[in-house]
């Protein structure tokens, strides 16, 4: 890929939650393949600012793929064509002359705030409903008093890498957050420390999930395909299994 791409950007603009919103078209020139996708948008925003048009609002913070703040639908794919976050997508994934459509996450549980920025507070409320281990500060036993088998610790870690970005929801035709919930259920459920609350946790989190207006899971798998942290689909099986056990136990 050579430097200096010229691109057409079709970007969703919406002045506020009550605005209907629409796609606007912009041109950018001389985009280097070493730029990140968001740096390309920075360039566009500088241009807009210079000609007196309000820059496009979009979320990002760490710009290194770990905080989960960035959140763009790029050509209909959550976080774009690579298995990564929007901020870690680089322009070498595109070519001169491309037209790129950029939209916010689309899900009824994630209302648009402005342009490409959405409200993902529902994910926090799911965690509040039970996505934790109750361990007051100061009450913890010596860390090595409870060994954790390495394979369980590894699985817990692998799914604990979820960054709470919501791409799974945006990618799902049902707008389900099952992958996100399953990741947390599996992370805490794999560890001995997570056992005491294991079954109340799953019932409460699933209850909150449904209450927030996220859809049900019908095993389509778009979530796992879009997930930048490659959270595997089997966390949803774990979720369902734990939920069945919980219900049997009368939770």
């Amino acid at each position: 890929m050579t430097d200096g791409m010229n691109l057409t950007l079709n970007i969703w603009r919406q002045t506020g939650p009550d605005d209907k919103g629409s796609i606007h078209s912009y041109q950018v020139e001389g985009i280097s393949s070493d730029m990140s996708f968001l740096e390309m948008l920075d360039v566009l925003n500088e241009q807009l600012n210079a000609r007196g048009e309000e820059p496009i609002a979009f979320d990002s913070d760490c710009r290194e793929g770990i905080c989960g703040m960035c959140s763009l639908m790029i050509n209909g794919e959550a976080h774009g064509p690579e298995v990564t976050t929007t901020c870690q997508l680089h322009m070498r994934s595109f070519k001169d002359g491309d037209t790129i459509t950029i939209e916010p996450w689309r899900a009824s549980a994630f209302p648009v705030i402005k342009d490409l920025v959405v409200d993902r507070g529902a994910l926090d409320r799911i965690i509040q409903s039970g996505g934790y281990i109750s361990a007051n500060t100061g009450s913890a036993p010596e860390a090595n008093s409870v060994p954790v088998p390495r394979d369980k610790a590894m699985r817990a870690f692998n799914v604990a890498t979820c960054i709470g970005c919501g791409a799974c929801v945006a990618a799902c035709p049902n707008g389900s957050a099952s992958l996100f919930v399953g990741a947390k259920i599996t992370h805490l459920g794999e560890l001995p420390q997570g056992q005491p609350e294991r079954y109340s946790r799953v019932v409460d989190m699933v209850g909150q999930h449904d209450h927030e207006g996220f859809g049900g899971c019908t095993n389509i798998g778009e979530c796992a395909a879009a997930c930048p942290k490659e959270i595997p689909l089997d966390v949803i099986s774990q979720l369902n299994k734990d939920l069945r056990t919980a219900l049997k136990q009368g939770h």
Partner: protein
Amino acid sequence: MTDMPDTTLTSDTSHDEPTAGEYDDAAGYYTLGDPIQDAKAPAGPIADRWQTRKFEARLVNPANRRKLSIIIVGTGLAGGAAAATLGEAGYNVKSFCYQDSARRAHSIAAQGGINAAKNYKEDGDSVHRLFYDTVKGGDYRSRESNVYRLAEVSVNIIDQCVAQGVPFAREYGGLLDNRSFGGVQVSRTFYARGQTGQQLLIGAYQAMERQVAAGTVEEFTRHEMLEVIVADGRARGIIARDMVTGEIETHLADVVVLASGGYGNVFYLSTNAMGSNVTAAWRAHRKGAYMANPCYTQIHPTCIPVSGEHQSKLTLMSESLRNDGRIWVPKKKEDCTKDPRDIPEEDRDYYLERIYPSFGNLVPRDIASRQAKNVCDEGRGVGPLVGDFRRGVYLDFADAIKRLGEDAVREKYDNLFDMYERITGENPYQVPMRIYPAVHYVMGGLWVDYDLQSTIPGLFVTGEANFSDHGANRLGASALMQGLADGYFVLPHTIRDYLSEGPFEKIDESHEAVVEARKSVEDRVAKLLSINGTRSVDSYHKELGHIMWEYCGMERTAEGLRKAIDMIRELRADFWTNVKVLGAADTLNQSLEKAGRVADFFELGELMCIDALNRRESCGGHFRAESQTEDGEALRHDDEFAYVAAWEFTEGDEPPVLHKEDLVYTAIEMKQRSYK
């Protein structure tokens, strides 16, 4: 390294030149105020001080806690852990962050690990050794009581995190694994692959969300604190802007905690998050909180080099990579453009191993950074030309892959290697990584006493936002330790001593301090939107960053610093007449948010330069070209500068006032560092 003291001594190192008081480089840029002292650390043997302080700190009975309210700005390790703990204790906590979720605070990005003196490896570690390493790493510019306490509570942190479900790396037997980290010779670093900060933060976040559900913590996300309210001599609340609606809100409380992180973004390019800022701390500074050692900046040696003008931030490659990667540049300039794999062993200069045979690639960050700059200045850097030089050195894993196998390397560093490839388009399993130093962390911050209270009564400061524990340089894996120590184990004890005097007299929105604070915020917002000049906020920020990096970066000189101060003043004046901020006040407006932050960075940047100018010595991350040994190593001047520089803000054109806190060591001997 044999310089571990086993007795308690005080001493100072004396140098031949210059003699005390010979220079006053910053004359005219400041005035000298009264010395300042930490009045809170108990006397007595260092190992007993924290126990004594905890015992002496007054209690608040559980029924009263419900009547007391605490504002915490920041949801990183320092703020999140404090919110959870104080919520559990039964206080009313209001928690603020500028991101859309508390879980996204920049602590999330920490990669390498967290230190604790568990001595699980039986390699001679102890609380005292962690204390010693931290003071030494900070080049004898930190307060010993604070550092000792940090080392002491470090062991509780790991227990707490494991109980919360933090999935640390484990050995086959199921017990916790450790690794060693830059600047030390014991293995005391706990880690969760390359995502330690993420896992620790998720632990604190979940504990805090549990308290949100319990009703003790109320969250205000997408809220930016823009002013602190100081009423009748005490911090009593904040003014915040709801970043979604633009509404300016008043929040009142009995006590205010700032856990707002570091200000490395004053350099524009840094490893900090885009939104990391100094505004919360700077607004407090303007209201009377002293700013301590603002020039102490940590430049991290292992970052991905800059690739072009468009760059918006820099990405760190965890320094844990230095455990297995070997750093080198070609011996000959003409090899610098070759494929590194074609350069034979004898033509490579493993310069850290050569100059520092006992620490090799694990020397402290400032040394590793400066040596990288030196070899690049010599014209032996690699990678693309940036200006006149190639700014990069190799970090090579070929030997590690040979020794451990690719799978073992993958298991340790997988996500870091992926990140590197994603950004540069090169595969580090095959080609050596290229790295270069970047601004990473600030040791400076608001001055606090042993109780973590600033010079404004009722304003506590924790985490990277304070100056307290790392002196002139921070050892790897110790910021996470400090954030969690402050949040879980220190602040909850010290704040109760203050709160035992509360609840304080109720104030409401008509109090003149509230009215004044609110008005100043509203005026500033209106002013920024009304200038309507020709330059974007980002263009100012970039230019400020260039000035800071050039003159207040890895190497500083009196001449350069004076020049920088003039340039910053000029640029700042231009900003206030010519910046262009579009959009409205009563809506989400990211340009407006940035403008406010950059405005504060100008003022901070100037103070950093003044502080650096005053400190005519080299210590830790602060390298003054005028103060070096014959072989180019940093030279401290303990006779003149063994103090904390605490700066008081002054209105108008008055220069800032310098208050010195003398550093007295009773449990450790001051030495010139040697990593040779």
